[in-house]
C-alpha cells in the first residue's frame, strides 16, 4: 500500500520503531573521508531523518551490520568456551536495491554454502527488515543495470526521498501496523534506474577457458594493484574472514576468539605453515577475485553473478583500477 507522510510523521515512526528496533542507514561523517576535506559515508545507527544521508552513495556497504569487521565469537577460559550475549532488538536497514540484492548474495555464502548455517550471520539476518531507498539516478562507477541488480522487490517498505513529503510503498504488515492512521493514502510504487553511465558485458560461456587464468591481461594488475584490499572491504558481496585468538592482557589464561574480515586481495590469504601460499602476484589476486565475482559464484549457485555492480571497488581503489573495465576485458578475451 502507498502512503505519503511528512517529515514529522516519518520521524515519529522512527521513534516508535526505536523501541524494538535498531535502525541503520547511511550516515555522513564529516572530514573522515579518504582524502583531506572529504567526508566518509558509512552505515550507522540513526534516530531521525536528518541523520540519513540519502543523496550520496555510501563508501562502505551495509554488510558490516550483519557481518561486522571484527566480532567476538567466544570468550574462553582454559576449560570452557562461552558465547557473547546477543542483541535482542530487531534491525531495520535503509538500503538501495543493489545492496539488498547484495545481501541475498551474502545469504548464499553464509546460509546455503555447505550443510551448516553461519550462526553469527544468521542471528542478525533473521531480524532484518529492509526499507528500500529509491535509487533512480545512480552514481559514478555504478553498473547495477548491467548486473540486473538495479531492481528489487525484496523490501518491507520502500521510500522516495527528496520531495516535500516522503512517499512510501509498504509491503509488510509490521510497517502497515506502525503507520496505521498516519499520513495520506496514495498510489506509489518506487522507480528504478534504467541506465548507468558505466555498462559491462558479462562473458556468456559455459566454461571459463583455461587460457584465461594466465592471460596477459592480468599482468597489468600485477604492476598496478598494491594489494591493499580496499576493493574487498567496501564490497557488499565480499564475505571472507579469518579467526584469531586473543589472550587477555591481565589474565592470559582467558581470552576471546574473534573473526575479522579477510581478503583474497591481501598478502597471506592462502599462506600455510612454512609460508607456502598461492597467487603471489597481485594480478593473480585480481584474477581470482574477478572470476569469483562474475563466474565461480554463478557456477556454484546458479543465481547469476556475485557482483551487484555497486561500483564501490572502483570508488575506493587508490590506484584507480576499474573493475567494470576489467570485466569488459575478460568478456572481450574469452
Amino acid at each position: 500500500m502507498g502512503k505519503s507522510v511528512s517529515t514529522t510523521e516519518f520521524n515519529e515512526m522512527l521513534k516508535t520503531l526505536a523501541g524494538e528496533y535498531r535502525i541503520f542507514a547511511p550516515k555522513r561523517f564529516v572530514h573522515h573521508g579518504k582524502c583531506t576535506g572529504t567526508d566518509l559515508i558509512r552505515y550507522g545507527e540513526v534516530h531521525s531523518l536528518d541523520e540519513i544521508e540519502y543523496k550520496a552513495k555510501s563508501n562502505f556497504s551495509l554488510k558490516e551490520i550483519l557481518h561486522p569487521i571484527n566480532q567476538t565469537i567466544f570468550y574462553f577460559t582454559e576449560t570452557e568456551f562461552s558465547e557473547p550475549a546477543t542483541e535482542n532488538k530487531g534491525i531495520v536497514i535503509f538500503a538501495r536495491p543493489c545492496d539488498i540484492n547484495g545481501v541475498f548474495r551474502l545469504d548464499n555464502i553464509f546460509l546455503h554454502n555447505g550443510d551448516e548455517e553461519d550462526y553469527y550471520y544468521k542471528k542478525p539476518r533473521d531480524k532484518v527488515r529492509f526499507v528500500m531507498m529509491e535509487c533512480t539516478v545512480g552514481f559514478e562507477n555504478c553498473f547495477c543495470v548491467s548486473m540486473d541488480t538495479n531492481k528489487s522487490d525484496d523490501y518491507h517498505m520502500a521510500v522516495r526521498f527528496g520531495g516535500e513529503e516522503y512517499l512510501l510503498d509498504i509491503r509488510d504488515q509490521f510497517f502497515i501496523d506502525v503507520l496505521e492512521g498516519v499520513g495520506e493514502d496514495i498510489e506509489f510504487t518506487p522507480d528504478f534506474i534504467k541506465r548507468n553511465r558505466v555498462e559491462v558485458r558479462l562473458p556468456e560461456i559455459d566454461r571459463m577457458p583455461p587460457a584465461m587464468y594466465d592471460h596477459e591481461m592480468w599482468d597489468e594488475y600485477s604492476t598496478r594493484c598494491i594489494a591493499c584490499g580496499r576493493c574487498t572491504t567496501t564490497c557488499i558481496t565480499c564475505s571472507c574472514f579469518t579467526t584469531t585468538d586473543i589472550a587477555n592482557e591481565d589474565n592470559p589464561k582467558q581470552g576471546e576468539r574473534r573473526r575479522t574480515w579477510a581478503s583474497c586481495h591481501i598478502e597471506g590469504f592462502t599462506d600455510m605453515a612454512g609460508g607456502h601460499g598461492f597467487r603471489k602476484k597481485n594480478g593473480e589476486k585480481m584474477r581470482f577475485k574477478t572470476l569469483h565475482k562474475i563466474y565461480d559464484y554463478n557456477r556454484r549457485f546458479g543465481k547469476g553473478p556475485m557482483c551487484v555492480g555497486c561500483g564501490r571497488c572502483d570508488d575506493a581503489c587508490p590506484v584507480y583500477i576499474s573493475f567494470s573495465n576489467c570485466i569488459n576485458k575478460v568478456t572481450s578475451y574469452v
Binding site: Y119, T242, T243, D245, A273, Y295
Partner: protein
C-alpha cells in the same frame, strides 16, 4: 540454534611420539567419522588448525600433528588426561566404495601418510576389502619416518616400498625421491585399479604425473589437498579454488577434477 563453531572438549587418552616433531594424540570420540576426514583443533589463546584423523576405532580417534607453528608446537604441551577442544569431522574423506575389490596403490609422502593411515589399518584388519594393496612411502630421512610400528605390521601383508630422500641402507629402504619409484609399482588392468597419492603439493603433482605417464587414467587417481582454512564450513573463503571449496568438496579429490583446479 546450533553453533557449528563451538568446539567441544574431549579427553586425551594417550600420546605417542612418532618422531621428534610429530606426535599422535589419541582422543575420546562420540561421533561418526570417515577415512581421510579432518577436525578443527582448538588451542584457546592460540587458535585453530585443521588436522586429519590418522586412525579411529570404537570410541576413539587419533590425530598426528607435526610441530610447524604456533598451535602445532604448543599443543605438544598437553598430556594424557588433559582435554583437547575439537569440532568436526569435516571434509568428504575417501569414498571406500571406489576401492572395494580393486588393486589399490597408496603413495604417501611424509605427514601425508596420516590421512590414509586409518584406511590402511582398516584394510589390514579386513583384508578382503580390496583385491590387493601396495604401499609406496617417501620420507626425508630415517628420523622423519612416522608410524614405524604400523609400517612394520603392514609390511607383513602388503607389498611395501619405503624411500628416503637423503639416505639409504636400512632394511628394505631405497634412496631417492618417491617419484623415482613409481616405475617400480606393479600395475593391474586399469579398470581394476585405484591409486591414492597424498603428500606435499609438489610431491602429489609429480607422483600423480608419473602414474599418468604410465598410463593410469586420471579418473583412477585420488589426491588430498591442503589449503589454508579458517572455518571448515564453507564460509571463510580461504580454501576456495575456482567454484570449489576444499573444506566441503575436498580435501579428497579425484585427480581428473584436481588437475583442473587452478588456484
Amino acid at each position: 540454534m546450533n553453533n557449528p563453531y563451538l568446539p567441544k572438549p574431549y579427553h586425551i587418552l594417550e600420546i605417542f611420539h612418532e618422531s621428534e616433531t610429530e606426535f599422535t594424540f589419541k582422543l575420546e570420540r562420540d561421533y561418526e567419522i570417515n577415512f581421510g576426514q579432518f577436525l578443527q583443533v582448538s588451542l584457546p589463546r592460540i587458535g585453530e588448525a585443521p588436522i586429519s584423523v590418522s586412525d579411529f576405532g570404537e570410541g576413539w580417534l587419533e590425530m598426528t600433528i607435526r610441530a610447524v607453528g604456533n598451535l602445532t608446537k604448543d599443543i605438544f604441551k598437553l598430556t594424557a588426561g588433559d582435554k583437547m577442544f575439537v569440532r568436526g569431522p569435516y571434509g568428504n574423506g575417501f569414498d571406500m566404495s571406489e576401492y572395494i575389490g580393486k588393486h589399490l596403490v597408496i603413495a604417501a609422502g611424509g605427514t601425508g601418510l596420516a590421512p590414509v593411515r586409518s584406511m590402511i589399518n582398516h584394510i589390514y584388519r579386513d583384508e578382503g576389502v580390496v583385491e590387493k594393496l601396495d604401499l609406496l612411502f617417501g620420507f626425508k630421512n630415517p628420523s622423519s619416518i612416522i608410524f614405524n610400528r604400523d609400517i612394520e605390521k603392514w609390511k607383513e601383508k602388503f607389498d611395501t616400498m619405503l624411500t628416503l630422500d637423503e639416505a639409504c641402507g636400512l632394511d628394505g629402504v631405497c634412496e631417492g625421491l618417491i617419484t623415482n619409484y613409481v616405475k617400480d609399482v606393479r600395475l593391474s588392468e586399469f579398470e581394476k585399479m585405484a591409486v591414492i597419492v597424498i603428500g606435499p603439493p609438489v610431491m602429489m603433482k609429480y607422483t600423480a604425473g608419473e602414474f599418468v605417464e604410465r598410463g593410469v587414467p586420471e579418473e583412477k587417481i585420488w589426491v588430498s589437498f591442503e589449503r589454508n582454512m579458517s572455518c571448515a564450513l564453507g564460509k571463510c573463503g580461504h580454501c576456495k579454488i575456482d567454484e570449489t571449496y576444499v573444506c566441503l568438496e575436498g580435501p579428497v579429490f579425484n585427480y581428473s577434477k584436481a588437475v583442473k583446479l587452478i588456484d
